[in-house]
Symmetry: D2
Subunit: 344 residues, 4 copies
């Protein structure tokens, strides 16, 4: 059994990654990849890892009729084009923020408002570790954002247990340059972007809204650009109201994640790799989650690491689509990380 799929916005980084995953997917067949600037170019012209793929970018104006449409377009495009997308496909998996939030409020606070608020309620948030059961049969899946995914995977096990919701939580995120997309620009040029520890969003990051919406936590979020291409690492500083032990934490996190196919607990021990690191999950759909306890300040530090292009975008989109379609959740997503590896 095979489903047909198209990728809209396939010349971008997330779009290219979707193509990479789909051309090797056992149950989904990529039939169309659109790009507004690279029409008629081969996929390999933009994405050198796809040189063997016999497919050219087509215009987004003419969408093939498919089972699944992945929209990997900039924020705002999906809400403008959603009718066309839904006409073309039974299931739309949107990687933008356009349908991620359940209410229109935060769109007015953090974005430029919303033109299709009536669709927000039916859109299903696509972060299977959070709401796997809501995905089967969904028409419109809004894939969790990269930094929000890293944060939510770190904090989710604590909610309702260690965290009641009104505690202070600081999330300090470090991300790679691929989060900025292909657009480039002066700040993204190699001479300017190399070697930075750049607080590009010390306050006011949009993913605060996503974390608040799904975890019910009012996190204080800051994002820093660091020198890597792929990767998002979230350090969550949590101050529980009551005492919590390391044994409690292991139990809580194991309960949450021991059956999760894509989440690894990495918390201490010896060796070089003792806590989550984005480079060990680069190119994979995996998330590493770990924690440390600071008795002095009664603080719990949770760290999680993902590849922002994969578990933070294309990988998670395929994972969510697999669940939505009833395909094996890990199908097409079994890549293992590398060691040694530099700054993927």
């Amino acid at each position: 059994m095979s489903y047909t799929a198209s990728v809209v916005g396939a010349s971008g980084f997330a779009g290219g990654e979707l193509c990479r995953l789909l051309v090797d997917h056992p149950a989904i067949e990529l039939v169309q990849a659109t790009s507004r600037g690279k029409e008629n170019r081969t996929l390999g012209h933009v994405h050198p890892n796809l040189r063997d793929v016999d497919l050219r970018f087509s215009s987004p104006e003419e969408l093939a009729s498919v089972d699944l449409l992945f929209a990997a377009t900039p924020h705002g495009v999906s809400m403008a084009e959603i009718d066309r997308f839904q006409d073309a496909a039974d299931t739309v998996v949107d990687l933008s923020a356009d349908f991620r939030l359940p209410d229109v409020g935060p769109y007015e606070e953090y974005y430029d408002g919303h033109s299709r608020p009536e669709l927000l309620e039916s859109a299903v948030y696509g972060l299977p570790e959070f709401n796997r059961e809501a995905l089967p049969g969904a028409d419109l899946v809004a894939v969790g954002g990269c930094n929000a995914t890293a944060s939510i995977l770190g904090l989710l096990p604590l909610v309702g247990d260690v965290l009641a919701g009104d505690e202070r939580v600081v999330v300090d995120v470090k991300v790679g340059s691929s989060e900025g997309g292909t657009g480039g620009g002066e700040a993204a040029s190699h001479p300017e972007r190399s070697g930075v520890v750049r607080p590009y969003a010390p306050t006011g990051h949009r993913h605060e809204a996503e974390i608040a919406a799904y975890l019910g936590l009012d996190v204080a979020f800051s994002a820093h650009a660091v020198d890597m291409v792929r990767g998002a690492s979230a350090t969550c500083h949590v101050f529980p109201d009551g005492p919590v032990s390391k044994a409690d934490l292991w139990e809580i996190y194991r309960d949450s994640y021991e059956d999760e196919p894509f989440v690894d607990l990495v918390a201490g021990g010896s060796g070089v790799y003792r806590y989550p690191e984005p480079k060990t999950v680069a190119g994979t759909n995996r998330a590493e989650v770990g924690f440390a306890l600071d008795p002095g300040s009664e603080r719990l530090v949770v760290v999680s690491a993902i590849d922002n292009v994969m578990k933070g975008a294309a990988g998670q989109a395929v994972q969510a689509a697999n669940v939505a379609l009833g395909v094996e959740e890990t199908a097409g997503l079994d890549a293992r990380g590398l060691h040694p590896v530099g700054s993927p």
Copy 2:
């Protein structure tokens, strides 16, 4: 007028940087550089930027009699050798943690205790922006640690004004590989250390004690290794008890730093470089400090950036020595940063 100086531990990174600064210093003459493994090698054998310097490493066993002795040795050496150091020099400037803390308590909590606690009271902490007036004539200067310096420079203006001392402060630090020193080891090797966002001290970092001792703040501190060689960037998440405006902050920070020769306020504006970044101060003794205000969560985010080898070690040592000797504070420290610059 010229003072003579020796550097003990000169084959290390901070020791080499001290040599670099001293050979070009207008009022201090480098007469000895010791190393326990590189005796009789030229300075340039280890430090390629010092190939033109006509000086060889000597054994630390025979110390020249000098005005100033800089100790750039691992923690523990200075407390064992302090009598020899003080016999050899009128002023000892110690870059290790051995005499940084005013009380023995934290040495028992964070370190392996202290063998010369009676000297702690008379040692002068060497962070001129904090206690410039205590430095002139000091016999023993204990230079502020790199991460502590970054944190203290960020938070100092707030203490007693915005911060009473019992507020929650989270300090999330990102540092370069030179903080690990020359020792190397598996975790420091290029294949393992490249591209990391590695939470090497999520809790329990020793510089917590230094910040607590001098700012009276019980900070929750976490340190991450990122892919750069030089640099320390501290993001301080501060939750003031009462309201604070951006105008207040500008006034507070300008009052503190407008006359400081080595501190720049970098807070917002347009362009690529809107907040402090370690790469813009690499190779210099400068600190950049900036802030952003998060109305939603009533959080103040302070960011500061230094070169850990300079303002976090050798540069600050020379600055403190200049003040201690009554030399112009900026002597030998007027290097300007580079643009563009990668990951210095």
Copy 3:
């Protein structure tokens, strides 16, 4: 049908990569992984990408009886241990240089001599694009070296056609830090190794002998360390005796490589990726080969790029083993590269 395999030297980079490939290999089962320093540790303790593998390092003193033994040990070990290796396994695949050269001469010139010269004749060089037909049934396979593989893949199509053997060929290679292995040491530490263009072997590189032995070319070889972890890129400057056109070259290279499963021709065109680049093949067993013609100086520039840990070591070892065993040549080696990707 499944073969059993052991990896000797499994805590090194090539050894770890062999484990990674074998645990997911459809026809080979990894039953033993030895390490002289990490005995009883899990594979995941050293290689974080193998945390899910339920296997611990064992001592190399007790070798399991297997079909295939991969030796990923430093040069010199295999010639000392070859009898034990051959007692333990039907087929030994050696990744060191110990049996790569057909004659003892170069071992005396470039290495420290050879203790088992009588085995050199029967050892089969493991570079399938060069001598695929010699591999089936081999007892002892000596896998081609990383830099030699990159060079040979670039030059092989020219030999006997454009190159008679006495022309001047300069091979200028750039390699990543993983070539230095796990040993580390001062030069390999991140602060020293970052950002280099370090001519670590401007002359006298051992792989000259390997290229001479198999291509019959007396190349002038230089190797530079650059800032990446994985990758080897060879730029071969060739001065043919007679005229050669771009059309000739395309024909020559297509004839050689169009049926090769792991070689891609990348020669010009438009876009960002116009010539071979190691980062596009990182994590894969692929080689990219391309060329440019310089009419003015009658020079042909051939560029080839591989992942030194894969096509330059573990990947090629598995490829050669597949051929030796009669398994599908690409089995276990179908990983696709990433885009975007930083410095893997």
Copy 4:
């Protein structure tokens, strides 16, 4: 005695570096810095290391009357504007290629021709180690190009001695991303440019013409982009007609360079830094030159390393201007490199 100077094209990398050097220059005063896109912005808006400089970019349309005008504009601008530049200044120092070559021929072969060929004869090439004596009093100085400077400094001592001019010379260059300038574009964006070994000009590089013009050598030149921001490293593979010994080479290179203030010989020895490396000269006007001899192939390998923004552009421009004006040649250029240092 102080000279006034303006920098045209001051928002670029070389232009910014000129400003950095001039604001701290003891004998030159920067009075104007122009930019076509950043008019009225402070220098510090673009160049964060110049935040303390009280000067704003002005339009290039109104040039101040100065002693010295540095043109750091793209190729083609200077030949179009040379009359205006010469009206505004007694001495024009041009950093572009527009007046570098003595004849119009190569402009027709490698560039888009030349609109002011009558000026080529009087323009003085600005590479003081090559033609110091021609610079005093020059009206128009054409500063040597970055890759050509690295190559010429490596090969110059050999010309007429070891090299008669008809020998085969291969120059394989590795450069940092700052050579691409501020323009950016897709290939220069951090995700695409990171971690590359990219043969961006395997053949046909324009600096071949410059090397041919001044050294009389027909070099086979290839340029590769590698992962650093500043730096150019040239590996010159030279095949002398007759025998040459290491002692000969030391004598030849010492004769050429022992009195040169900016050239260091780095050739072998022990330690980590045994050959020229661009990172050790980053931020300085220094060049490192070294060599190795390959008896087997009768090849001489010469390596030279510079900072392309400094000795390859702005630093060399100031050096040439110093000589042209009769100022101390090293004035404003005494910066020392750093150790450790990453990828500046």
